[in-house]
């Protein structure tokens, strides 16, 4: 798969994005709107604090019992008539989906929105094997037409504005004349998709929560396309990561409150689908077969580390990226891999390896805006710092590609820094020298060069606070 060959180039892609005023305006406007909507939902700090603590506890409890819950989930799904497939790698997941489709003789697939199928590049795999998969979520449909990847995990085409979509539709949808009228554009997509729904042999979807206790797949959406994709065709295949399991049906309600409010500022989504079985005898609709493909793809390794396992609490609401000052300015495609924003910066290096995506944990000022809004309290800045540590730790076993960020210059640089700041004598001497000569350092020196491109050169003070405190008689002890 193409996925394995990819390497993150955050700085290079950020350079392109930062110099694209239209892209920056699109993201800024969209993220401002999303932040305002979320803030309006959580205007009661006490309710927010209590609810997110509950959400975090539910996810933490599910992860603490993950192996057991996955077994219970499989048993209960099987009892309900849903077939479970385990996939360790994207290749295994793709093969499982293809196998099910082939067995059913399915050629045409309609898809509901699913980030895990983006992660495994399912559409490309199906296409290569003679099966057409059409995205039915409006945003996904738009980027599929454009031949692009999602730039946001909830709103995949958020990087595009109305005019760009109008141009795309006129170009790609047969018989479509150019219009910027949003209702007309939606109608055009609806019309094109309706036929695809009608002739689909199978529907493929993601999963928001898989309930172990009851064997229920919970799927939320706003367009009704998710319900159509999972009920209209005779075959439904759901694909999700192993971490999406929750223990009890009772656990779903708080998460269903946190997720849409954090994501789009909605009290609840228009559709909440709870799938418990294929069509039963005597029932008039619903798919005849339902399958669930459970993907690992490195998640077990994330799970094995007690601190990094918090990454798996994520419920994919995207609040972290909506509030991220870096994401807002560079957009989702800068992150190269499937998951952008703060959650991507901690998840991608763990799934793909620090040797492929080691620059991502560093593409953050550690401002903490993400952790502040995370509905399940993932300590994202701490995990970014942890991944930075794994990147420079010799022979780190915790994360794939650990230690790949080590360099002689980095090691020596920090050794020098440590020598200076852990010795009061050496520090005193250095700060005195800097006070005397520091301002003579030319602006073209490394670091100072980067700094002074948009800022004036900082000026060393003639006397340090240490000196001033001594002279003014401040006590030393």
């Amino acid at each position: 798969m193409a996925a394995e060959a990819r390497v993150s180039d955050f700085g290079g892609k950020a350079h392109v994005a930062l110099n694209d005023p239209k892209l920056r305006a699109n993201f800024r406007r969209a993220m401002d709107g999303l932040m305002a909507k979320r803030a309006a939902q959580f205007d009661d700090p006490a309710e927010w604090t209590a609810l997110r603590a509950r959400g975090a506890a539910i996810r933490a409890r599910a992860l603490a019992r993950l192996p057991d819950l996955l077994e219970r989930l499989e048993a209960n799904l099987t009892r309900n008539g849903i077939t479970v497939h385990w996939a360790e790698t994207p290749a295994e997941a793709n093969a499982a989906v293809l196998g099910i489709l082939r067995q059913a003789g399915a050629k045409r697939v309609i898809k509901g929105k699913s980030m895990v199928t983006e992660e495994i590049h399912l559409n490309a795999h199906l296409e290569a094997n003679g099966i057409t998969a059409v995205e039915s979520d409006l945003g996904e449909y738009i980027i599929q037409l454009a031949g692009q990847a999602p730039s946001h995990i909830v709103m995949p085409c958020i990087h595009m504005n109305k005019v760009e979509i109008a141009e795309l539709f006129a170009d790609k949808i047969e018989g479509q004349t150019y219009t910027e009228d949003v209702d007309e554009l939606c109608a055009a997509a609806r019309k094109a998709l309706r036929d695809r729904f009608a002739d689909a042999d199978a529907g493929i979807s993601g999963v928001n929560f898989a309930v172990a206790e009851t064997g229920t797949l919970v799927l939320i959406e706003n367009e009704g396309n998710g319900r159509l994709s999972t009920t209209l065709p005779p075959l439904h295949i759901a694909v999700t990561g192993i971490e999406k399991v929750v223990e009890r049906l009772d656990d779903v309600a708080p998460l269903l409150s946190l997720l849409p409010r954090s994501a789009t500022g909605q009290i609840i989504t228009t559709y909440v689908n709870m799938i418990s079985s294929p069509r039963k005898a005597g029932e008039k609709d619903g798919p005849r077969q339902v399958h669930l493909v459970l993907l690992d793809n490195g998640r077990s390794r994330v799970y094995a580390d007690v601190q990094l396992a918090d990454t798996l609490r994520c419920i994919r609401c995207a609040a972290c990226m909506n509030h991220c000052p870096v994401y807002t300015r560079v957009g989702g495609h800068t992150y190269t891999f499937t998951y952008p924003g703060p959650i991507g910066k901690i998840l991608t290096p763990q799934l793909e390896g620090l040797d492929c995506a080691g620059d991502q944990p560093h593409a953050s000022s550690l401002c903490g805006a993400c952790a502040e809004v995370c509905p399940v309290q993932i300590p994202i800045p701490d995990l970014l710092a942890r991944l930075r540590t794994e990147a420079v730790r010799p022979a780190s076993p915790a994360v794939r590609g650990g230690g790949s960020g080590r360099s002689l210059a980095d090691t020596l640089g920090w050794a020098g820094w440590t020598a200076m700041y852990s010795s009061p004598r050496l520090y005193g001497l250095s700060s005195r020298m800097m006070g005397l000569f520091g301002n003579l350092i030319p602006a073209w020196m490394p670091m100072l060069k980067q700094w002074t491109r948009v800022r004036t050169k900082p000026r060393f003070a003639g006397k340090s606070l240490h000196q001033i405190a001594r002279e003014r008689g401040f006590s030393n002890d």
């Binding site: 955050f10 700085g11 950020a14 350079h15 930062l18 000052p325 870096v326 300015r329 560093h362 593409a363 953050s364 000022s365 550690l366 401002c367 903490g368 805006a369 952790a371 502040e372 710092a385 991944l387 930075r388 540590t389 794994e390 990147a391 420079v392 730790r393 960020g405 920090w414 820094w417 440590t418 200076m420 700041y421 852990s422 010795s423 009061p424 700060s431 006070g435 520091g438 670091m447 980067q450 700094w451 491109r453 948009v454 800022r455 004036t456 900082p458 060393f460 003070a461 006397k463 340090s464 606070l465 240490h466 001033i468 405190a469 001594r470 003014r472 401040f474 006590s475 030393n476 002890d477």
Partner: protein, 249 residues
């Protein structure tokens, strides 16, 4: 701290950035404490909180530097820090930095004695300031670690609002990072540049003649970018600003 809640002596941790670049801000912080009748102790052994190494993944190096600070502040007096970022590092990250280390208990006790300057002035001392300065309009810039790690949000604004001739205008984008982030500013220089340009524009749009902040890292970034693009506003550390107002300068 004595049971009464008001100590007679405090330690002052100047921070490495203030030490070398903004000593007048550190001195103002010490003067503000002194004029409240406190004895201010400035241990000459102090250097840096260790945050740069910690944030770059060099835990051992950060711990070595942090351990020197544990040694430099041996008494049980409060440690007042004129930076939300360094205070956040020492409050929040010292205990985890010394996990499974013989000095863990000492690090925890240290972290519990750390106060950001405005937090200490408001919550512990309950200072009342008398404004002797001329009318001025300012806006506040909170550092990310001040608001999100040290938990200092309202205290600096409460102090600014005590000043009769100071008009505090809110920046609608106040909470957004200025793009400093320590080494982030040179490791991702273009993203940092975009962030500080937006921050500068948002401050300019408030119409304030000064931006006041409790963190010199942010100030170095914001005022550096403002000066380079020839903006009219200046930046001041809150300690210096408060002291100048009280002296009528």
């Amino acid at each position: 701290m004595p049971a009464s809640g008001r100590p007679h002596t405090v330690y002052f941790f100047g921070t490495c950035l203030i030490d070398m670049f903004y000593p007048e801000a550190g001195l103002a912080g010490m003067e503000l404490l002194k004029r409240e009748g406190l004895k201010v102790v400035f241990p000459q052994k102090q250097t840096c909180c260790g945050q740069p190494a910690r944030n770059n993944g060099h835990q051992d190096e950060a711990r070595a530097v942090a351990r020197l600070q544990l040694d430099a502040f041996p008494g049980d007096w409060p440690i007042v820090v004129p930076s939300g970022s360094c205070a956040g590092m020492m409050k929040v990250h010292y205990p985890e930095l010394f996990e499974n280390d013989p000095d863990h208990a000492r690090a925890v006790a240290f972290s519990e004695r750390v106060f950001e300057l405005t937090e200490f002035l408001v919550d512990v001392l309950g200072v009342r300031l008398v404004d002797r300065g001329r009318p001025v309009t300012v806006t506040w810039h909170p550092s990310c670690h001040s608001q999100r790690e040290a938990g200092v949000v309202e205290q600096p604004k409460a102090l600014l609002r005590q000043l009769a001739n100071v008009t505090l205008v809110e920046n609608p984008r106040e909470k957004e990072c200025c793009g400093f982030g320590g080494t982030f500013s040179v490791k991702q220089p273009e993203i940092s540049a975009a962030m500080v340009a937006d921050k500068v524009a948002s401050i300019e749009a408030t119409g304030a003649s000064q931006v006041v902040s409790g963190d010199c890292g942010c100030l170095m970034n914001i005022t550096g970018a403002a000066a380079k693009s020839r903006k009219a506003f200046t930046g001041t550390h809150i300690a210096e600003f408060l002291l100048e107002r009280c002296h009528g300068r």
